[in-house]
């Protein structure tokens, strides 16, 4: 076995895993916030993520067509795109909640899940319909912005691109902002109150519906931001892109302890790192007998192991049985 190689690529793999992990963490926030308040898996969140990515690419393509991309600072462009993508996804999430979930409040828990699956199917092909009519294509590519593709060489073998740094910084800012919002503001207190006990919260004068809408707005916006960053980082998107990252992010949310914001972040990072290391090292360590194709098995096996020893996830609360 080539130890020099194994050690040599370690920092790069770690960095790759970190970026992927932040991406998962951002998407996982959408799952975890909704779960924290409503105890329900918003299966359609992966499509909300995709809509963010599509809004982002549409705006960028419009900018590009208008020739603005070369003139304006790429970071300003990115900020605008990010905000608009967040807005679109947030509003979509609120709409979905109003139409497909609110009427089911109080129904057994699996009912909204199926409704969410329906929304997910619907949105996938709705996005495709819109894009097919609009652009006559639904595999869209994020325009390349040269500044974002500049790479810094840390050492001879390790380098990092500007866009990766953007992903990390943006994720950290958003995670921190969200954490602050939930823990230090009045709105956050109201959210936690609704999560704890809807009836009591409404007796205390909190508008439960408004708080739930707000939760979806914020969760959706996080998904939209993740969508835009995903597009910038990996460039190709299509209406079905969201499915796999959504599944992984949901796994990450559970891994960290679902309903728990720092948990989503930790879960995302752990899963991202696991995947990166499995994909890079499995083949090298087993001499080609097992390879990158086993990364999901590896990730899920570790997930199962972790859950056996910590049944409520890494940062989950101590088991509290609901009566």
């Amino acid at each position: 076995m080539d130890f020099e190689l194994l050690i040599g690529i370690f920092p790069q793999v770690f960095l790759d895993g970190l970026i992927l992990g932040f991406m998962y963490a951002l998407i996982a926030l959408g799952y975890t916030m909704v779960y924290g308040v409503l105890e329900f898996i918003n299966f359609a969140h992966s499509e909300i993520f995709v809509v963010g990515a599509f809004v982002g690419v549409e705006i960028l393509l419009t900018f590009q067509a208008a020739g603005l991309l070369a003139l304006v600072s790429p970071f300003l462009v990115l900020l605008v795109v990010l905000l608009l993508g967040m807005l679109a996804s947030g509003l979509l999430a609120v709409t979905v909640e109003r139409v497909a979930y609110r009427p089911l409040r109080g129904a057994p828990r699996l009912i909204p899940l199926i409704s969410a699956i329906g929304v997910s199917f619907f949105l996938q092909d709705a996005v495709r319909l819109v894009e097919s009519v609009w652009r006559n294509a639904f595999n869209l590519v994020y325009p390349t912005m040269d500044t974002l593709n500049i790479r810094f060489s840390l050492t001879e073998t390790i380098d990092v691109s500007v866009k990766s740094l953007v992903v990390i910084v943006a994720s950290l800012l958003m995670l921190w902002g969200l954490h602050a919002l939930v823990n230090r503001t009045k709105i956050g207190t109201a959210m936690r109150a609704v999560a704890e006990d809807q009836a009591a919260a409404s007796l205390m004068g909190i508008s439960v519906n408004r708080i739930i809408s707000l939760t979806f707005l914020i969760g959706g916006a996080m998904g939209g931001a993740a969508g835009v960053l995903f597009g910038v980082q990996y460039s190709l998107i299509n209406p079905y892109t969201g499915f796999i990252p959504g599944l992984k992010a949901f796994t990450a949310a559970v891994l960290g302890g679902i309903g728990n914001i720092p948990g989503a972040m930790v879960g995302g990072l752990v899963l991202g790192l696991l995947e990166a290391f499995a994909a890079s090292y499995l083949s090298l360590l087993t001499g080609g007998a097992f390879g990158a194709e086993y990364k999901d098995i590896f990730a899920f096996s570790v997930l199962i192991l972790i859950l056996i020893f910590r049944p409520k996830g890494l940062l989950g609360e101590v088991v509290r049985e609901r009566a």
């Binding site: 779960y35 898996i41 139409v99 497909a100 009427p103 089911l104 129904a107 057994p108 828990r109 699996l110 009912i111 909204p112 899940l113 199926i114 409704s115 699956i117 329906g118 929304v119 997910s120 199917f121 619907f122 949105l123 996938q124 092909d125 709705a126 495709r128 319909l129 097919s132 009519v133 006559n136 599944l247 949901f250 796994t251 559970v254 679902i258 007998a289 097992f290 194709e293 086993y294 999901d296 098995i297 899920f300 096996s301 997930l303 199962i304 859950l307 056996i308 049944p311 409520k312 996830g313 088991v319 049985e321």
Partner: protein, 435 residues
């Protein structure tokens, strides 16, 4: 709201009486079956036929008569209809396969309340069990050319599939027993993915599953009754015999599944599952052995999937991992919940509705729109032939399916045929609808 209208009430009252109900059911079945034979390509005729089977289920009549009529419809009428149009038989077979799957999942999710998002893994285990040994694939593992096993082994493997899948169920159940709710869901999801990825990757170092290229040809069960067919002068052409044969095999498996389900539901095991579903802590306090009961739910649910898996691989002649994706698990789950969680007739109806919707109604609709287009029909002076290809109706079947799921849940969240628990408690089990 029918009650507000006097005619509706009258019809309802009339149908509550056995004789008119029975006559009407027979008449409906006869008329629709005739309609199918007369318009073999009309999807609507076949749907009316299916609707009259549904009517048969709801009609109030003595259970022996209902049983007789059901047996006659499924055992005689459906095969006849199916031999007129093979497509309907194919739909019936697939409906049967999904009914058995939905019934199995209904035990895990509906009765025991354990959300399983990777149920299709057990289906895959069953399918691969027969696929590997019922095809030359096993030679890759053991060397030599002893395989495929003779087709008659199929029946043994039907049992073996039950056992292997149940084993897989216990294997999955053991480590995850401490988990609740969504944590359990994600682990089962992971398990489902692990099985699929394994099937996709185990072509090296040792070739077990032949990876993405799949396994073919898989032996079908032997036509052991061939001499009988010859004796009565029927041509034993396998192209004609196999669809019917497979149909009856599916019917048999579904029948056994329903029987087992109903026995289990009313046994102390079934009660224990429902107790766990309603309140785990209370159930434990009352002496329900949680570990054993949960394992049993997993094993029991999985075993049905294993059996149909074996049948599925024989029916398809070819399997590869594409048949066992996460979306399939979600599909089966949707069937159970659409039908009404925990309800046996609900699971049956849910599976039927989803399968028929997917394979027949939505396809029929897009074919019909396509025909209108080919015929140059105009709407408001605008020719359908000018419809841009982006709006091709065949492309949006899944979108319509999603919409139907949402609408169903919003307007009838309890499912189509919810559990009739109160009913049963009041009548001491005697008035359970027969099927």
């Amino acid at each position: 709201m029918d009650e507000r209208q006097p005619q509706a009430r009258m019809i309802k009252a009339l149908l509550a009486r056995p004789l008119p109900a029975a006559i009407l059911a027979i008449a409906l079945l006869g008329i629709t079956a005739y309609a199918v034979s007369h318009f073999p390509r009309s999807i609507v005729a076949f749907m009316l036929f299916q609707a009259s089977i549904l009517f048969l289920y709801f009609a109030a009549m003595p259970s022996w008569l209902k049983g007789l009529l059901t047996a006659g419809t499924l055992g005689v009428l459906m095969p006849v209809v199916g031999s007129i149009n093979g497509y309907y038989l194919e739909i019936a077979i697939q409906v049967g396969i999904f009914v058995a799957l939905a019934l199995g999942l209904n035990i895990v999710v509906g009765l025991a309340g354990l959300l399983d998002l990777g149920y299709v893994a057990f289906f895959a285990v069953g399918a691969y069990t027969w696929a590997i040994f019922g095809s030359p694939q096993a030679n890759q593992i053991f060397g030599g050319d002893a395989f495929p096993l003779p087709p008659a082994w199929f029946f043994l493997f039907l049992l073996l599939g039950v056992g292997v899948a149940a084993g897989a169920g216990i294997l999955l159940g053991l480590p995850v027993l401490r988990l609740h709710g969504d944590y359990l869901a994600i682990v089962t999801l992971g398990f489902g993915e692990v099985i699929r990825v394994l099937a996709n990757n185990l072509d090296k170092p040792i070739n077990f599953t032949n990876g993405p290229k799949g396994i073919t040809p898989i032996s079908r069960p032997p036509i052991f009754f061939e001499p009988v067919l010859r004796a009565v002068g029927v041509d034993p052409n396998p192209n004609v015999v196999y669809p019917l044969y497979l149909y009856f095999l599916v019917l048999l498996i579904v029948g056994v599944t329903i029987l087992v389900n109903r026995r289990v539901e009313d046994s102390h095991v079934g009660r224990a599952w429902e107790a766990i579903r309603e309140d785990q802590t209370a159930a434990q306090a009352m002496g329900v052995p949680l570990v054993r009961m949960k394992l049993m739910a997993f094993a029991c649910g999985a075993s049905f999937a294993g059996a149909v898996g074996v049948l599925f691989s024989a029916k398809q002649v070819f399997i590869n991992p594409e048949s066992f994706t996460f979306m399939e698990s979600i599909g089966v789950l949707a069937m159970v919940i659409l039908g009404g969680m925990g309800s046996i007739p609900g699971a049956i109806l849910g599976a039927t509705v989803v399968t028929v919707l997917n394979l027949q109604v939505l396809k029929g609709l897009s074919l019909w729109l396509n025909e209108l287009r080919n015929a140059g029909v105009t709407i408001f002076g605008w020719s359908l032939a000018n419809l841009p290809t982006q709006l091709e109706p065949a492309k949006y079947e899944r979108m319509v399916f999603g919409l139907i799921l949402v609408l169903m849940m919003v307007f009838r969240p309890q499912g189509i045929l919810p559990v009739q628990r109160r009913h049963r408690e009041l009548h001491d089990g005697a008035a359970l609808p027969e099927r």
